[in-house]
């Protein structure tokens, strides 16, 4: 019995206002289904026989099943057995959370492949416990999932899940930021927490730079897009190093330091920066702004009023991901995907 791999493909990511206020793409359902098929084929090539997938009713499952049945009708064994989790479908983020929870509690899921943007990955990480995550970007702001051909992500996940790569090589530790309002259950962010002056959630995305006030990031990569790009352009912080960065923002016209940052696809805006400091793990940060909205990984999710206390805290080694680059390098060095002919000795 080989280990199972979980697969969560969010059908509703990449649908927000950034398709109008920025030049964000929209990954269509057929594209998402084809990405699932590519990942499944790669898993099968590594020896994974069983995959469990989050059910949905937006059209991905039907397309995927047709692809599998067509291959079987041709006598091809290109795909593993695919089962759908027995769970209700609500068409909301609760489906993603529930699926991750079920996969984590099943005990036999070695890794979860996720299709979505930062928000989808955040929902999975909030529930998947110690099960490693392999991210595939099908969202809008994709600072967390690395941009890579899904077939390669599938191969690396398959090799790691089969135990063909040592765990210390196959999996990487990641940071997260916890945000609590009035001591309630913390919400998490995988990349960034932004404090903005809006007092409402609205269309969620962030694009009006004059509302930006504070930014907290787990990592700051100058190559990523979104709010973390602001931090990445002033003081890069890697995913692997301990701690993050806290940045105080202001209107561009009011600040001496201004950063031109890609805050959304095609949207490079000037943002004022008043200062920044390292954000050690475990230290509680409290916003200076008395009331506003809290954006998690680029989307307004919460709001707080003057009488409420907000606590922001970075957590090191919070969850694991499949380190696709390391796995593939290991696979190449050790010939994991190479079948060599027997060496012939010529007399």
């Amino acid at each position: 019995m080989t280990p199972k791999v979980g697969l969560i493909a969010n059908p509703i990511s990449a649908r927000d206002i950034r398709r109008v206020v920025a030049s964000a793409n929209s990954v269509q359902i057929a594209d998402r289904a084809n990405i699932v098929l590519r990942a499944l084929a790669a898993l099968k090539a590594c020896g994974i026989a069983e995959v469990v997938m989050m059910p949905e009713r937006a059209g991905i499952a039907g397309h995927v099943l047709r692809g599998i049945e067509r291959a079987r009708a041709h006598g091809e064994e290109r795909f593993p057995n695919l089962a759908f989790l027995p769970m209700p479908v609500t068409g909301t983020v609760e489906d993603t959370r529930r699926a991750a929870r079920l996969m984590a509690s099943a005990g036999d899921v070695a890794a979860i492949i996720v299709l979505g943007g930062d928000g989808t990955h955040r929902a999975v990480v909030g529930e998947c416990g110690s099960v490693p995550v392999a991210g595939i970007s099908t969202g809008t702001n994709n600072a967390f999932p690395e941009h890579r051909e899904p077939t390669i992500t599938g191969l690396a996940t398959g090799l790691a899940a089969m135990g063909l790569v040592p765990a210390r090589t196959a999996f990487a530790d990641n940071k997260k930021i916890e945000v609590s309002v009035d001591g309630g259950t913390p919400e998490i962010a995988l990349v960034d927490v932004a404090i903005v002056t809006d007092r409402f959630v609205g269309a969620r995305a962030l694009w009006r730079t004059e509302t930006f006030r504070e930014l907290y990031v787990t990592f700051a990569d100058p190559e990523v897009i979104g709010m973390a790009a602001i931090a990445g352009l002033i003081e890069p912080v890697s995913r692997a190093e301990a701690g993050g960065l806290a940045v105080t923002l202001a209107s561009a016209g009011a600040a001496a330091t201004r950063v031109r940052a890609p805050i959304a696809p095609g949207l490079v805006e000037e943002i004022g920066v008043e200062g920044w400091r390292r954000m050690p793990a475990g230290t509680v940060f409290t916003p200076a702004l008395a009331a506003g909205a809290i954006a998690l990984d680029g989307e307004r999710e919460l709001f707080f009023d003057p009488h409420q206390r907000v606590e922001i805290r970075l957590v090191d080694r919070a969850f694991r991901t499949v380190d696709v680059a390391q796995v593939m390098r290991f696979a190449a060095r050790n010939g994991l995907l190479v079948d060599r002919p027997p060496v012939r000795i010529h007399a």
């Binding site: 206002i17 398709r19 929209s26 009713r57 002056t197 609205g202 004059e210 509302t211 009023d305």
Partner: protein
């Protein structure tokens, strides 16, 4: 540039609440009155979807046109059609917006840019392309908004209109009010790919999905797509995921809904309650001011029903007036 924490002034927030409350009370009252048997024809109630019409229409003026649906009362009220005339029209009275000859599914008021509710599913989409073309020729910055549901989204007229709007780059917004049911058929069953953003992408239109029970989400997204259209950016699609508290039509037993679904929605997804809680807890509007609007709207609806009931029916000699148009 503004640091106003809400996108609207206090007066505008109260106006938004007043519009939503007027729609809600209008529909709740019709639910009661229709059961008495005094109202001719059918009515399809909009209660639960108020944030969609209100969040969108607050960006429009009388030069902007809308093409509505069979569930059009909310669109009419949010576009500024007189509530007394609407109620009289639904009662089939001579004082109605269409002299009592249209009823619920044909309320129109061109002076307000309201081209009409429409008994034909998906029929508003081609009409609004005409309005958009006229606005484009006039160059007055006007836009056209057509509303349709998840059911009508599968009508050929809607898809053809998206294509037409795209090739002519019309200032038109296609608004899908996705309440989950096409009459009694769930969207999951009846729609192959239930992302309307995908549909729009097929015609080269940008699409946006928002929570239609959150006024601020609708208002913010609608503001951006409408501004884009006014500036010549072309058509777009806005999907508002919403709910309806009542059946498809009055008298619908709603056996296709889960047990307790309406109660749960009223408790957890009531757009008026969500809005009032947010603006009062933020201190932008007081609870007393909300309560005052509630009382004033209740009086307005009472008066509208009473005057509609007491108004005369159209006379036989009016049978052919306002029916045919000579060119």
């Amino acid at each position: 540039m503004t640091n106003n924490p809400f996108p609207l002034s206090k007066d505008e927030l109260l106006a938004a609440y007043r519009t939503m409350r007027t729609i809600r009370d209008f529909e709740e009252r019709l639910h009661v009155e229709f059961a008495k048997g005094d109202i001719p024809g059918f009515v399809h109630l909009y209660a639960g979807e108020e944030a969609c019409a209100t969040g969108i229409m607050m960006h429009l003026t009388d030069i902007d046109r809308i093409a509505s649906t069979h569930r059009g009362h909310g669109h009419c009220i949010a576009k500024g059609v007189d509530v007394h005339e609407m109620m009289a029209e639904i009662y089939g009275k001579a004082t109605g917006a269409c002299r009592g000859k249209g009823g619920s599914m044909h309320i129109a008021d061109l002076s307000k840019g309201m081209m009409g509710a429409n008994g034909i599913l998906g029929a508003g989409a081609p009409l609004i392309c005409g309005a958009g073309l006229a606005a484009k020729f006039r160059g007055d910055g006007g836009v056209g908004i057509t509303f349709f549901g998840d059911g009508a989204s599968n009508q050929g007229t809607v898809l053809e209109s998206m294509n037409l709007a795209a090739i002519w780059n019309l200032p038109v917004i296609f608004v899908v009010e996705n309440n989950g049911y096409a009459e009694s058929t769930s969207v999951e069953y009846a729609t192959a790919v239930d992302s309307y953003v995908d549909r729009a992408a097929g015609f080269g239109l940008p699409g946006v999905t928002v929570d239609g029970t959150d006024f601020f989400a609708v208002h913010e997204a609608a503001g951006e797509v409408i501004r884009r259209a006014r500036e010549g950016g072309g058509p777009a699609l806005l999907e508002c995921k919403t709910i309806r508290f009542f059946g498809h039509f009055e008298g619908d037993a709603q056996t296709y809904k889960a047990k307790g679904e309406n109660d749960w929605n009223r408790e957890n997804r009531d757009c008026l309650r969500i809005f009032a809680n947010r603006v009062t807890s933020a201190g932008a509007v007081s609870e007393a001011e909300i309560a005052l609007v509630d009382r004033e709207v209740a009086s307005l609806i009472d008066a509208a029903v009473e005057s509609a009931k007491g108004a005369p029916l159209p006379s036989p000699r009016d049978l052919l007036t306002d029916v045919y148009v000579a060119y």
